[in-house]
Protein backbone atom coordinates (compact mmCIF):
# COMPACT_ATOMS: atom_id res chain seq x y z
CA UNK A 1 0.00 0.00 0.00
CA UNK A 2 2.84 2.37 0.89
CA UNK A 3 4.55 1.67 -2.44
CA UNK A 4 1.28 2.22 -4.30
CA UNK A 5 0.70 5.51 -2.50
CA UNK A 6 4.22 6.73 -3.24
CA UNK A 7 3.91 5.74 -6.90
CA UNK A 8 0.60 7.57 -7.27
CA UNK A 9 2.05 10.72 -5.68
CA UNK A 10 5.14 10.59 -7.90
CA UNK A 11 2.99 10.32 -11.04
CA UNK A 12 1.18 13.46 -9.91
CA UNK A 13 4.26 15.70 -9.88
CA UNK A 14 4.86 15.95 -13.66
CA UNK A 15 1.12 16.45 -14.21
CA UNK A 16 1.15 19.33 -11.72
CA UNK A 17 4.11 20.94 -13.50
CA UNK A 18 2.31 20.63 -16.85
CA UNK A 19 -0.88 22.11 -15.42
CA UNK A 20 1.12 25.05 -14.04
CA UNK A 21 2.55 25.64 -17.54
CA UNK A 22 -0.96 25.67 -19.02
CA UNK A 23 -2.23 28.07 -16.35
CA UNK A 24 0.82 30.27 -16.96
CA UNK A 25 0.06 30.32 -20.69
CA UNK A 26 -3.52 31.37 -19.90
CA UNK A 27 -2.18 34.08 -17.59
CA UNK A 28 -0.12 35.57 -20.42
CA UNK A 29 -3.27 35.76 -22.54
CA UNK A 30 -5.29 37.53 -19.84
CA UNK A 31 -5.79 41.29 -19.75
CA UNK A 32 -3.64 43.33 -17.38
CA UNK A 33 -0.90 41.82 -15.27
CA UNK A 34 -2.07 38.34 -14.32
CA UNK A 35 1.14 37.25 -12.61
CA UNK A 36 1.69 39.90 -9.94
CA UNK A 37 -1.38 42.14 -10.22
CA UNK A 38 0.40 45.50 -10.12
CA UNK A 39 -1.04 47.11 -13.25
CA UNK A 40 -4.33 49.01 -12.93
CA UNK A 41 -6.76 47.11 -15.21
CA UNK A 42 -8.92 50.21 -15.65
CA UNK A 43 -6.06 52.35 -16.98
CA UNK A 44 -5.73 51.76 -20.71
CA UNK A 45 -3.10 54.39 -21.43
CA UNK A 46 -0.53 52.53 -23.59
CA UNK A 47 2.40 54.51 -22.20
CA UNK A 48 1.46 53.67 -18.61
CA UNK A 49 1.02 49.98 -19.45
CA UNK A 50 4.33 49.82 -21.34
CA UNK A 51 6.19 51.51 -18.51
CA UNK A 52 4.69 49.18 -15.90
CA UNK A 53 5.34 46.11 -18.04
CA UNK A 54 8.98 47.07 -18.38
CA UNK A 55 9.31 47.71 -14.66
CA UNK A 56 7.58 44.46 -13.62
CA UNK A 57 9.64 42.41 -16.08
CA UNK A 58 6.69 41.43 -18.25
CA UNK A 59 8.85 42.00 -21.33
CA UNK A 60 11.40 39.41 -20.16
CA UNK A 61 11.68 36.06 -21.98
CA UNK A 62 8.79 33.70 -21.21
CA UNK A 63 10.83 31.09 -19.33
CA UNK A 64 12.31 33.76 -17.03
CA UNK A 65 8.80 34.98 -16.22
CA UNK A 66 7.60 31.41 -15.61
CA UNK A 67 10.52 30.74 -13.27
CA UNK A 68 9.85 33.92 -11.33
CA UNK A 69 6.13 33.13 -11.07
CA UNK A 70 6.68 29.53 -9.95
CA UNK A 71 9.26 30.64 -7.38
CA UNK A 72 6.53 32.85 -5.93
CA UNK A 73 3.82 30.18 -6.11
CA UNK A 74 5.81 27.55 -4.19
CA UNK A 75 6.38 30.19 -1.50
CA UNK A 76 2.62 30.77 -1.40
CA UNK A 77 2.92 34.17 -3.11
CA UNK A 78 0.39 34.78 -5.88
CA UNK A 79 0.98 38.50 -6.20
CA UNK A 80 -1.51 41.20 -5.31
CA UNK A 81 -5.12 41.76 -6.23
CA UNK A 82 -5.52 45.18 -7.82
CA UNK A 83 -9.25 45.37 -7.14
CA UNK A 84 -9.16 44.24 -3.52
CA UNK A 85 -5.85 46.05 -2.75
CA UNK A 86 -4.42 43.13 -0.81
CA UNK A 87 -2.45 39.94 -1.35
CA UNK A 88 -4.23 37.33 -3.47
CA UNK A 89 -3.71 34.68 -0.78
CA UNK A 90 -5.50 36.95 1.69
CA UNK A 91 -8.48 37.46 -0.67
CA UNK A 92 -8.75 33.71 -1.22
CA UNK A 93 -8.30 33.05 2.51
CA UNK A 94 -11.37 35.20 3.24
CA UNK A 95 -13.51 33.26 0.78
CA UNK A 96 -12.26 29.72 1.33
CA UNK A 97 -14.17 28.93 4.57
CA UNK A 98 -17.48 29.75 2.84
CA UNK A 99 -16.78 27.38 -0.05
CA UNK A 100 -15.62 24.62 2.30
CA UNK A 101 -18.79 25.01 4.37
CA UNK A 102 -20.91 24.84 1.20
CA UNK A 103 -19.06 21.76 -0.13
CA UNK A 104 -19.21 19.84 3.14
CA UNK A 105 -22.91 20.61 3.61
CA UNK A 106 -23.72 19.58 0.04
CA UNK A 107 -21.75 16.35 0.42
CA UNK A 108 -23.65 15.50 3.61
CA UNK A 109 -26.94 16.20 1.83
CA UNK A 110 -25.91 14.08 -1.17
CA UNK A 111 -25.01 11.12 1.01
CA UNK A 112 -28.13 11.30 3.17
CA UNK A 113 -30.47 11.60 0.16
CA UNK A 114 -28.68 8.98 -1.93
CA UNK A 115 -28.46 6.60 1.00
CA UNK A 116 -32.14 6.87 1.86
CA UNK A 117 -33.45 6.71 -1.70
CA UNK A 118 -30.97 4.11 -2.95
CA UNK A 119 -31.63 1.82 -0.01
CA UNK A 120 -35.38 2.02 -0.44
CA UNK A 121 -35.26 1.52 -4.22
CA UNK A 122 -32.81 -1.36 -3.89
CA UNK A 123 -34.90 -3.17 -1.33
CA UNK A 124 -38.19 -2.64 -3.16
CA UNK A 125 -37.20 -2.76 -6.85
CA UNK A 126 -39.87 -2.48 -9.56
CA UNK A 127 -42.46 -1.06 -7.14
CA UNK A 128 -44.19 2.35 -7.51
CA UNK A 129 -41.77 3.77 -4.93
CA UNK A 130 -38.79 2.61 -6.96
CA UNK A 131 -40.23 4.05 -10.17
CA UNK A 132 -40.90 7.32 -8.36
CA UNK A 133 -37.27 7.52 -7.24
CA UNK A 134 -36.08 6.70 -10.76
CA UNK A 135 -38.27 9.50 -12.10
CA UNK A 136 -36.76 11.96 -9.62
CA UNK A 137 -33.31 10.76 -10.69
CA UNK A 138 -34.01 11.44 -14.35
CA UNK A 139 -35.26 14.92 -13.53
CA UNK A 140 -32.23 15.70 -11.36
CA UNK A 141 -29.87 14.55 -14.10
CA UNK A 142 -31.65 16.71 -16.67
CA UNK A 143 -32.16 20.00 -14.83
CA UNK A 144 -29.09 22.27 -15.06
CA UNK A 145 -27.84 23.53 -11.69
CA UNK A 146 -28.49 27.20 -12.40
CA UNK A 147 -32.09 26.52 -13.46
CA UNK A 148 -32.65 24.45 -10.31
CA UNK A 149 -31.08 27.22 -8.22
CA UNK A 150 -33.40 29.89 -9.63
CA UNK A 151 -36.50 27.74 -9.11
CA UNK A 152 -35.29 27.01 -5.55
CA UNK A 153 -34.83 30.72 -4.81
CA UNK A 154 -38.30 31.45 -6.17
CA UNK A 155 -40.04 28.79 -4.07
CA UNK A 156 -38.03 28.55 -0.87
CA UNK A 157 -36.85 32.15 -0.50
CA UNK A 158 -39.60 34.25 -2.04
CA UNK A 159 -42.77 32.14 -1.87
CA UNK A 160 -42.14 30.37 1.43
CA UNK A 161 -39.53 32.70 2.94
CA UNK A 162 -37.61 29.87 4.56
CA UNK A 163 -34.11 30.79 3.38
CA UNK A 164 -32.33 34.03 2.42
CA UNK A 165 -32.05 34.40 -1.36
CA UNK A 166 -28.52 35.79 -1.58
CA UNK A 167 -25.35 36.38 0.40
CA UNK A 168 -23.31 34.26 2.78
CA UNK A 169 -24.05 35.95 6.11
CA UNK A 170 -26.78 38.23 7.43
CA UNK A 171 -26.09 41.93 7.99
CA UNK A 172 -25.80 43.20 11.55
CA UNK A 173 -24.52 40.04 13.19
CA UNK A 174 -21.16 40.29 14.93
CA UNK A 175 -18.51 37.80 13.97
CA UNK A 176 -17.84 35.04 16.45
CA UNK A 177 -21.23 34.98 18.17
CA UNK A 178 -23.61 32.01 18.04
CA UNK A 179 -26.05 34.00 15.86
CA UNK A 180 -23.24 34.65 13.38
CA UNK A 181 -22.53 30.96 12.82
CA UNK A 182 -26.25 30.22 12.68
CA UNK A 183 -26.69 32.91 10.06
CA UNK A 184 -23.88 31.50 7.96
CA UNK A 185 -25.37 28.04 8.14
CA UNK A 186 -28.76 29.46 7.21
CA UNK A 187 -27.30 31.21 4.15
CA UNK A 188 -25.40 28.12 3.03
CA UNK A 189 -28.36 25.74 3.44
CA UNK A 190 -30.28 26.45 0.22
CA UNK A 191 -27.24 26.53 -2.13
CA UNK A 192 -26.00 23.32 -0.48
CA UNK A 193 -29.40 21.70 -0.95
CA UNK A 194 -29.38 22.50 -4.68
CA UNK A 195 -25.75 21.49 -5.16
CA UNK A 196 -26.08 18.33 -3.10
CA UNK A 197 -29.51 17.38 -4.41
CA UNK A 198 -28.49 17.44 -8.06
CA UNK A 199 -25.48 15.15 -7.60
CA UNK A 200 -27.61 12.55 -5.80
CA UNK A 201 -28.85 10.78 -8.93
CA UNK A 202 -25.75 8.79 -9.84
CA UNK A 203 -25.16 7.71 -6.23
CA UNK A 204 -28.76 6.59 -5.78
CA UNK A 205 -28.69 4.60 -9.01
CA UNK A 206 -25.38 3.00 -8.07
CA UNK A 207 -26.55 1.97 -4.61
CA UNK A 208 -29.87 0.65 -5.93
CA UNK A 209 -28.27 -1.55 -8.59
CA UNK A 210 -25.64 -2.81 -6.19
CA UNK A 211 -28.22 -3.81 -3.58
CA UNK A 212 -30.34 -5.60 -6.19
CA UNK A 213 -27.28 -7.45 -7.45
CA UNK A 214 -26.12 -8.39 -3.95
CA UNK A 215 -29.55 -9.62 -2.92
CA UNK A 216 -29.20 -12.52 -5.38
CA UNK A 217 -25.79 -13.64 -4.13
CA UNK A 218 -25.07 -16.85 -2.28
CA UNK A 219 -24.20 -15.32 1.05
CA UNK A 220 -27.61 -13.68 1.17
CA UNK A 221 -29.30 -16.99 0.41
CA UNK A 222 -27.26 -18.56 3.22
CA UNK A 223 -28.31 -15.83 5.61
CA UNK A 224 -31.97 -16.33 4.62
CA UNK A 225 -31.67 -20.10 5.04
CA UNK A 226 -30.37 -19.58 8.55
CA UNK A 227 -33.48 -17.62 9.37
CA UNK A 228 -32.02 -14.11 9.51
CA UNK A 229 -34.74 -11.47 9.35
CA UNK A 230 -35.09 -9.49 6.13
CA UNK A 231 -34.25 -6.30 8.00
CA UNK A 232 -30.99 -7.77 9.23
CA UNK A 233 -30.12 -9.12 5.80
CA UNK A 234 -30.59 -5.76 4.11
CA UNK A 235 -29.22 -3.49 6.82
CA UNK A 236 -26.26 -5.57 7.95
CA UNK A 237 -25.22 -8.06 5.27
CA UNK A 238 -25.96 -6.25 2.02
CA UNK A 239 -25.55 -2.63 2.97
CA UNK A 240 -22.06 -3.11 4.34
CA UNK A 241 -20.92 -4.45 1.00
CA UNK A 242 -22.76 -1.91 -1.10
CA UNK A 243 -21.61 1.12 0.85
CA UNK A 244 -17.92 0.69 -0.01
CA UNK A 245 -18.05 1.66 -3.72
CA UNK A 246 -20.17 4.68 -2.80
CA UNK A 247 -17.46 6.02 -0.51
CA UNK A 248 -14.86 5.88 -3.27
CA UNK A 249 -17.03 8.04 -5.52
CA UNK A 250 -16.29 10.88 -3.11
CA UNK A 251 -12.85 11.68 -4.57
CA UNK A 252 -14.13 11.91 -8.12
CA UNK A 253 -16.93 14.10 -6.87
CA UNK A 254 -14.57 16.91 -5.85
CA UNK A 255 -14.20 17.98 -9.49
CA UNK A 256 -17.95 18.14 -10.05
CA UNK A 257 -18.49 19.97 -6.75
CA UNK A 258 -15.93 22.59 -7.81
CA UNK A 259 -17.68 23.13 -11.14
CA UNK A 260 -21.09 23.17 -9.50
CA UNK A 261 -19.96 25.57 -6.79
CA UNK A 262 -18.83 28.16 -9.35
CA UNK A 263 -22.35 28.31 -10.81
CA UNK A 264 -24.31 27.91 -7.57
CA UNK A 265 -22.26 30.54 -5.70
CA UNK A 266 -22.78 33.00 -8.54
CA UNK A 267 -26.56 32.49 -8.60
CA UNK A 268 -26.83 32.91 -4.83
CA UNK A 269 -24.23 35.73 -4.70
CA UNK A 270 -22.61 33.52 -2.06
CA UNK A 271 -19.17 34.88 -1.26
CA UNK A 272 -17.02 31.82 -1.96
CA UNK A 273 -14.16 30.89 -4.30
CA UNK A 274 -16.42 30.28 -7.31
CA UNK A 275 -18.14 33.64 -7.03
CA UNK A 276 -14.69 35.21 -6.57
CA UNK A 277 -13.53 33.63 -9.84
CA UNK A 278 -16.48 34.98 -11.83
CA UNK A 279 -16.43 38.46 -10.31
CA UNK A 280 -12.65 38.71 -10.76
CA UNK A 281 -12.97 37.85 -14.45
CA UNK A 282 -15.65 40.52 -14.78
CA UNK A 283 -13.44 43.13 -13.06
CA UNK A 284 -10.33 42.03 -15.00
CA UNK A 285 -8.57 41.20 -11.73
CA UNK A 286 -6.38 38.67 -13.51
CA UNK A 287 -3.96 37.77 -10.69
CA UNK A 288 -6.88 36.42 -8.63
CA UNK A 289 -8.23 34.49 -11.64
CA UNK A 290 -4.86 32.80 -12.16
CA UNK A 291 -4.48 31.87 -8.50
CA UNK A 292 -8.03 30.48 -8.21
CA UNK A 293 -7.66 28.50 -11.45
CA UNK A 294 -4.41 26.95 -10.25
CA UNK A 295 -5.84 26.13 -6.83
CA UNK A 296 -8.99 24.52 -8.22
CA UNK A 297 -6.87 22.46 -10.65
CA UNK A 298 -4.70 21.21 -7.81
CA UNK A 299 -7.81 20.46 -5.74
CA UNK A 300 -9.22 18.37 -8.61
CA UNK A 301 -5.93 16.50 -8.92
CA UNK A 302 -5.83 15.81 -5.18
CA UNK A 303 -9.45 14.64 -5.35
CA UNK A 304 -8.55 12.10 -8.04
CA UNK A 305 -5.57 10.99 -5.96
CA UNK A 306 -7.73 10.47 -2.86
CA UNK A 307 -10.24 8.51 -4.94
CA UNK A 308 -7.48 6.25 -6.28
CA UNK A 309 -5.96 5.72 -2.83
CA UNK A 310 -9.30 4.93 -1.17
CA UNK A 311 -10.04 2.57 -4.02
CA UNK A 312 -6.68 0.91 -3.44
CA UNK A 313 -7.55 0.40 0.23
CA UNK A 314 -10.97 -1.05 -0.58
CA UNK A 315 -9.99 -3.18 -3.57
CA UNK A 316 -6.46 -4.68 -3.26
CA UNK A 317 -6.46 -5.72 -6.95
CA UNK A 318 -6.07 -2.05 -7.98
CA UNK A 319 -2.72 -1.81 -6.20
CA UNK A 320 -1.04 -4.33 -8.51
CA UNK A 321 -0.33 -2.92 -11.91
Amino acid sequence: MLLYTLRRILIMIPIMVMISVVVFALALAMPGDALSGQIDPANSDPEYIEEMRERLGLNDPVHVQYGRWMAGVVQWDFGRSFVHRMDVTEVIGQRLPNTILLSVLSLIITYILAFTMGRYAGRHPYTPGDYGIQGINYLMLAIPSFVAAIFAIFFFSFQLGWFPATGSVGSGVTAGTFEYYLSRLHHAALPALVLGGLTTASYTQFLRNDIIESSQKDYVRTARAKGTTENNIYNKHILRNSIIPIVTLFGFDIASIIGGAVIIETVFAYRGIGELLISSIDRRDSSVVVAVTLMLSVATLVGNLIADLVYGVVDPRIRVE
Partner: protein, 300 residues
Protein backbone atom coordinates in the same frame (compact mmCIF):
# COMPACT_ATOMS: atom_id res chain seq x y z
CA UNK B 1 -55.62 -19.22 -29.47
CA UNK B 2 -52.30 -20.45 -28.15
CA UNK B 3 -51.59 -22.27 -31.40
CA UNK B 4 -51.94 -19.02 -33.31
CA UNK B 5 -49.65 -17.30 -30.83
CA UNK B 6 -46.91 -19.88 -31.30
CA UNK B 7 -47.25 -19.56 -35.05
CA UNK B 8 -47.07 -15.80 -34.79
CA UNK B 9 -44.00 -16.03 -32.56
CA UNK B 10 -42.31 -18.33 -35.06
CA UNK B 11 -43.03 -15.92 -37.87
CA UNK B 12 -41.66 -13.05 -35.86
CA UNK B 13 -38.56 -15.06 -35.09
CA UNK B 14 -38.01 -15.79 -38.78
CA UNK B 15 -38.45 -12.15 -39.58
CA UNK B 16 -36.01 -11.17 -36.85
CA UNK B 17 -33.40 -13.54 -38.20
CA UNK B 18 -33.55 -11.91 -41.61
CA UNK B 19 -33.22 -8.39 -40.24
CA UNK B 20 -29.93 -6.59 -39.89
CA UNK B 21 -28.85 -5.51 -36.39
CA UNK B 22 -29.75 -1.95 -37.38
CA UNK B 23 -33.29 -2.89 -38.34
CA UNK B 24 -33.75 -4.78 -35.08
CA UNK B 25 -32.49 -1.80 -33.13
CA UNK B 26 -34.80 0.54 -35.03
CA UNK B 27 -37.77 -1.70 -34.32
CA UNK B 28 -36.89 -1.85 -30.63
CA UNK B 29 -36.50 1.91 -30.50
CA UNK B 30 -39.88 2.51 -32.16
CA UNK B 31 -41.51 0.30 -29.52
CA UNK B 32 -39.96 2.33 -26.68
CA UNK B 33 -42.75 4.80 -25.89
CA UNK B 34 -40.75 7.15 -23.70
CA UNK B 35 -37.96 7.43 -26.27
CA UNK B 36 -40.43 8.01 -29.11
CA UNK B 37 -42.32 10.74 -27.25
CA UNK B 38 -38.95 12.35 -26.48
CA UNK B 39 -37.86 12.07 -30.11
CA UNK B 40 -41.09 13.69 -31.30
CA UNK B 41 -40.64 16.45 -28.72
CA UNK B 42 -37.05 17.10 -29.82
CA UNK B 43 -38.02 17.13 -33.51
CA UNK B 44 -40.86 19.60 -32.83
CA UNK B 45 -38.53 21.86 -30.82
CA UNK B 46 -35.92 21.71 -33.59
CA UNK B 47 -38.47 22.54 -36.30
CA UNK B 48 -39.87 25.44 -34.26
CA UNK B 49 -36.32 26.67 -33.66
CA UNK B 50 -35.31 26.71 -37.30
CA UNK B 51 -38.63 28.17 -38.43
CA UNK B 52 -38.21 30.99 -35.89
CA UNK B 53 -37.99 33.75 -38.55
CA UNK B 54 -41.36 32.55 -39.95
CA UNK B 55 -43.24 31.76 -36.71
CA UNK B 56 -41.97 34.45 -34.36
CA UNK B 57 -44.45 37.33 -34.07
CA UNK B 58 -41.74 40.00 -33.68
CA UNK B 59 -38.18 40.77 -34.63
CA UNK B 60 -35.86 39.35 -31.93
CA UNK B 61 -34.16 42.70 -31.39
CA UNK B 62 -37.43 44.71 -31.38
CA UNK B 63 -37.74 46.63 -28.13
CA UNK B 64 -41.07 47.87 -26.76
CA UNK B 65 -40.07 50.56 -24.28
CA UNK B 66 -43.59 51.19 -22.98
CA UNK B 67 -44.35 47.52 -22.30
CA UNK B 68 -41.24 46.48 -20.41
CA UNK B 69 -41.59 43.58 -17.95
CA UNK B 70 -45.22 43.12 -18.90
CA UNK B 71 -46.83 39.81 -17.87
CA UNK B 72 -48.17 37.27 -20.42
CA UNK B 73 -51.31 38.22 -22.29
CA UNK B 74 -52.37 40.83 -24.81
CA UNK B 75 -49.93 41.37 -27.67
CA UNK B 76 -47.25 39.30 -26.00
CA UNK B 77 -47.98 35.60 -25.61
CA UNK B 78 -45.38 35.08 -22.88
CA UNK B 79 -44.89 38.69 -21.82
CA UNK B 80 -41.83 40.88 -22.31
CA UNK B 81 -38.44 40.99 -20.62
CA UNK B 82 -36.57 43.76 -18.86
CA UNK B 83 -35.59 45.45 -22.12
CA UNK B 84 -39.08 45.14 -23.62
CA UNK B 85 -38.35 42.21 -25.95
CA UNK B 86 -41.01 39.55 -26.59
CA UNK B 87 -40.21 36.43 -24.52
CA UNK B 88 -41.88 34.00 -26.97
CA UNK B 89 -39.81 35.42 -29.86
CA UNK B 90 -36.61 35.20 -27.80
CA UNK B 91 -37.49 31.63 -26.83
CA UNK B 92 -37.80 30.58 -30.50
CA UNK B 93 -34.61 32.34 -31.63
CA UNK B 94 -32.86 31.20 -28.45
CA UNK B 95 -33.73 27.59 -29.25
CA UNK B 96 -32.09 28.04 -32.63
CA UNK B 97 -28.87 29.38 -31.07
CA UNK B 98 -28.68 26.84 -28.27
CA UNK B 99 -29.52 23.82 -30.43
CA UNK B 100 -27.14 24.88 -33.21
CA UNK B 101 -24.24 25.28 -30.79
CA UNK B 102 -25.16 21.96 -29.17
CA UNK B 103 -25.23 20.09 -32.48
CA UNK B 104 -22.04 21.69 -33.86
CA UNK B 105 -20.15 20.99 -30.63
CA UNK B 106 -21.46 17.43 -30.62
CA UNK B 107 -20.16 16.78 -34.14
CA UNK B 108 -16.80 18.38 -33.37
CA UNK B 109 -16.37 16.41 -30.15
CA UNK B 110 -17.45 13.11 -31.70
CA UNK B 111 -15.02 13.65 -34.60
CA UNK B 112 -12.08 14.38 -32.29
CA UNK B 113 -13.00 11.51 -29.98
CA UNK B 114 -13.41 9.04 -32.87
CA UNK B 115 -10.09 9.96 -34.48
CA UNK B 116 -8.09 9.84 -31.25
CA UNK B 117 -9.93 6.85 -29.80
CA UNK B 118 -9.74 4.68 -32.93
CA UNK B 119 -6.07 5.48 -33.66
CA UNK B 120 -5.16 4.85 -30.03
CA UNK B 121 -7.08 1.58 -29.84
CA UNK B 122 -6.03 0.29 -33.28
CA UNK B 123 -2.29 0.93 -33.07
CA UNK B 124 -1.75 0.29 -29.36
CA UNK B 125 1.85 0.44 -28.12
CA UNK B 126 3.54 3.79 -27.78
CA UNK B 127 0.95 5.63 -29.92
CA UNK B 128 -1.73 4.50 -27.48
CA UNK B 129 0.44 5.39 -24.48
CA UNK B 130 1.13 8.93 -25.72
CA UNK B 131 -2.46 9.65 -26.74
CA UNK B 132 -3.93 8.25 -23.53
CA UNK B 133 -1.52 10.16 -21.28
CA UNK B 134 -2.58 13.27 -23.17
CA UNK B 135 -6.25 12.35 -22.64
CA UNK B 136 -5.66 11.80 -18.93
CA UNK B 137 -3.94 15.16 -18.77
CA UNK B 138 -6.91 17.00 -20.28
CA UNK B 139 -9.22 15.04 -17.96
CA UNK B 140 -7.38 16.40 -14.93
CA UNK B 141 -8.57 19.94 -15.59
CA UNK B 142 -11.68 21.08 -13.75
CA UNK B 143 -13.81 21.33 -16.92
CA UNK B 144 -16.07 24.26 -16.06
CA UNK B 145 -13.32 26.43 -14.56
CA UNK B 146 -11.15 26.10 -17.66
CA UNK B 147 -14.06 26.62 -20.03
CA UNK B 148 -14.95 29.83 -18.18
CA UNK B 149 -11.39 31.16 -18.13
CA UNK B 150 -10.77 30.28 -21.79
CA UNK B 151 -14.14 31.67 -22.88
CA UNK B 152 -13.41 34.92 -21.03
CA UNK B 153 -10.06 35.27 -22.82
CA UNK B 154 -11.63 34.67 -26.25
CA UNK B 155 -14.83 36.57 -25.45
CA UNK B 156 -14.34 39.02 -28.33
CA UNK B 157 -13.96 36.20 -30.86
CA UNK B 158 -17.67 35.29 -30.74
CA UNK B 159 -19.62 32.06 -31.06
CA UNK B 160 -17.03 30.04 -33.01
CA UNK B 161 -14.43 30.55 -30.29
CA UNK B 162 -17.01 29.33 -27.75
CA UNK B 163 -17.67 26.20 -29.82
CA UNK B 164 -13.92 25.57 -30.15
CA UNK B 165 -13.34 25.99 -26.39
CA UNK B 166 -16.21 23.64 -25.48
CA UNK B 167 -15.14 21.02 -28.02
CA UNK B 168 -11.43 21.03 -27.20
CA UNK B 169 -12.08 20.33 -23.51
CA UNK B 170 -14.82 17.70 -23.68
CA UNK B 171 -13.76 14.88 -26.04
CA UNK B 172 -11.81 12.87 -23.43
CA UNK B 173 -14.52 10.59 -22.05
CA UNK B 174 -15.88 9.67 -25.48
CA UNK B 175 -12.35 9.04 -26.82
CA UNK B 176 -11.71 6.54 -24.03
CA UNK B 177 -14.93 4.69 -24.79
CA UNK B 178 -14.15 4.55 -28.53
CA UNK B 179 -10.63 3.35 -27.75
CA UNK B 180 -11.72 0.45 -25.56
CA UNK B 181 -14.36 -0.60 -28.10
CA UNK B 182 -11.80 -0.43 -30.93
CA UNK B 183 -9.36 -2.51 -28.92
CA UNK B 184 -11.84 -5.32 -28.40
CA UNK B 185 -13.02 -5.12 -32.03
CA UNK B 186 -9.44 -5.30 -33.31
CA UNK B 187 -9.01 -8.80 -31.85
CA UNK B 188 -11.59 -10.26 -34.25
CA UNK B 189 -10.48 -12.41 -37.19
CA UNK B 190 -12.06 -10.22 -39.84
CA UNK B 191 -9.78 -7.33 -38.90
CA UNK B 192 -6.75 -9.61 -39.11
CA UNK B 193 -8.00 -10.84 -42.48
CA UNK B 194 -8.41 -7.29 -43.72
CA UNK B 195 -4.87 -6.46 -42.66
CA UNK B 196 -3.46 -9.66 -44.16
CA UNK B 197 -4.84 -8.92 -47.64
CA UNK B 198 -2.96 -5.64 -47.53
CA UNK B 199 -5.52 -3.12 -46.26
CA UNK B 200 -3.90 0.09 -45.10
CA UNK B 201 -4.54 0.95 -41.44
CA UNK B 202 -6.66 3.92 -42.48
CA UNK B 203 -8.84 1.75 -44.71
CA UNK B 204 -9.17 -1.01 -42.12
CA UNK B 205 -10.22 1.46 -39.46
CA UNK B 206 -12.69 3.24 -41.72
CA UNK B 207 -14.25 0.23 -43.47
CA UNK B 208 -14.07 -2.51 -40.87
CA UNK B 209 -13.56 -1.18 -37.37
CA UNK B 210 -15.61 2.02 -37.34
CA UNK B 211 -18.92 0.52 -38.59
CA UNK B 212 -18.78 -1.85 -35.62
CA UNK B 213 -17.90 0.89 -33.16
CA UNK B 214 -20.67 3.09 -34.60
CA UNK B 215 -23.34 2.06 -32.08
CA UNK B 216 -21.08 3.11 -29.21
CA UNK B 217 -20.34 6.40 -30.94
CA UNK B 218 -24.04 7.14 -31.48
CA UNK B 219 -24.85 6.56 -27.81
CA UNK B 220 -21.94 8.80 -26.79
CA UNK B 221 -23.09 11.47 -29.25
CA UNK B 222 -26.58 11.69 -27.72
CA UNK B 223 -25.18 12.02 -24.23
CA UNK B 224 -22.72 14.66 -25.46
CA UNK B 225 -25.48 16.69 -27.11
CA UNK B 226 -27.14 17.08 -23.71
CA UNK B 227 -23.85 17.95 -22.00
CA UNK B 228 -23.00 20.55 -24.66
CA UNK B 229 -26.39 22.27 -24.47
CA UNK B 230 -26.10 22.49 -20.67
CA UNK B 231 -22.54 23.83 -20.96
CA UNK B 232 -23.55 26.50 -23.48
CA UNK B 233 -26.56 27.68 -21.48
CA UNK B 234 -24.57 27.71 -18.23
CA UNK B 235 -21.78 29.75 -19.82
CA UNK B 236 -24.22 32.20 -21.40
CA UNK B 237 -26.00 32.47 -18.07
CA UNK B 238 -22.72 33.46 -16.40
CA UNK B 239 -22.01 35.94 -19.22
CA UNK B 240 -19.18 34.06 -20.93
CA UNK B 241 -21.12 32.35 -23.67
CA UNK B 242 -23.07 33.72 -26.61
CA UNK B 243 -22.71 37.52 -26.98
CA UNK B 244 -25.49 39.25 -25.04
CA UNK B 245 -27.23 40.70 -28.13
CA UNK B 246 -27.93 37.22 -29.53
CA UNK B 247 -30.93 35.46 -28.00
CA UNK B 248 -30.06 32.09 -26.44
CA UNK B 249 -31.71 30.14 -23.64
CA UNK B 250 -28.74 30.87 -21.39
CA UNK B 251 -28.81 34.59 -22.16
CA UNK B 252 -32.54 34.69 -21.36
CA UNK B 253 -31.87 33.08 -17.99
CA UNK B 254 -29.16 35.66 -17.34
CA UNK B 255 -31.80 38.24 -16.42
CA UNK B 256 -32.75 36.03 -13.49
CA UNK B 257 -29.40 36.79 -11.87
CA UNK B 258 -31.18 39.77 -10.34
CA UNK B 259 -33.32 38.67 -7.36
CA UNK B 260 -36.16 41.09 -8.20
CA UNK B 261 -36.62 39.39 -11.59
CA UNK B 262 -36.87 36.00 -9.90
CA UNK B 263 -39.40 37.38 -7.44
CA UNK B 264 -41.59 39.53 -9.66
CA UNK B 265 -41.20 38.46 -13.28
CA UNK B 266 -41.43 34.68 -13.44
CA UNK B 267 -42.44 34.77 -17.14
CA UNK B 268 -38.93 35.89 -18.07
CA UNK B 269 -37.07 32.89 -16.64
CA UNK B 270 -39.62 30.07 -16.39
CA UNK B 271 -40.00 29.50 -20.19
CA UNK B 272 -36.27 29.16 -21.00
CA UNK B 273 -35.70 27.19 -17.76
CA UNK B 274 -38.39 24.65 -18.65
CA UNK B 275 -37.27 24.57 -22.30
CA UNK B 276 -33.70 23.65 -21.30
CA UNK B 277 -34.80 21.05 -18.75
CA UNK B 278 -37.32 19.30 -21.02
CA UNK B 279 -34.91 19.30 -23.96
CA UNK B 280 -32.18 17.69 -21.85
CA UNK B 281 -34.69 15.22 -20.41
CA UNK B 282 -35.85 14.28 -23.93
CA UNK B 283 -32.27 13.84 -25.18
CA UNK B 284 -31.41 11.64 -22.18
CA UNK B 285 -34.45 9.43 -22.79
CA UNK B 286 -33.56 9.11 -26.47
CA UNK B 287 -29.98 8.20 -25.49
CA UNK B 288 -31.23 5.54 -23.06
CA UNK B 289 -33.59 4.21 -25.73
CA UNK B 290 -30.82 3.93 -28.33
CA UNK B 291 -28.51 2.24 -25.82
CA UNK B 292 -31.24 -0.23 -24.96
CA UNK B 293 -32.11 -0.85 -28.62
CA UNK B 294 -28.54 -1.75 -29.52
CA UNK B 295 -28.14 -4.00 -26.49
CA UNK B 296 -28.78 -7.58 -27.66
CA UNK B 297 -29.30 -8.70 -24.06
CA UNK B 298 -32.24 -6.38 -23.43
CA UNK B 299 -35.59 -8.07 -23.99
CA UNK B 300 -37.73 -5.06 -24.69
Amino acid sequence: MSAIDTKKAEELEKKAKKQSPWAIARRKLFKNKLAMISLIFLVVVTILAYLAPVIAPFDPSRVDIINRNSPPGGDYLLGTDNAGRDVWTSLLYGARTSLTIGFVCMFAVVTIATIIGSISGFYGGWVDAVLMRFTDFIMNFPFLVFVIVLASIFREAGVWALIAVLSVLSWTGAARVVRSKTMSEKENEYVMAAISIGGTPFKVIRKHVLPNVMTTIIVQATLLLAVMIVAETALSFLGFGVPSGTPSWGNMMQEARQPHVIRNAWWIWVPPGLAITFTILAINFIGEGIKDAFNPKSLR
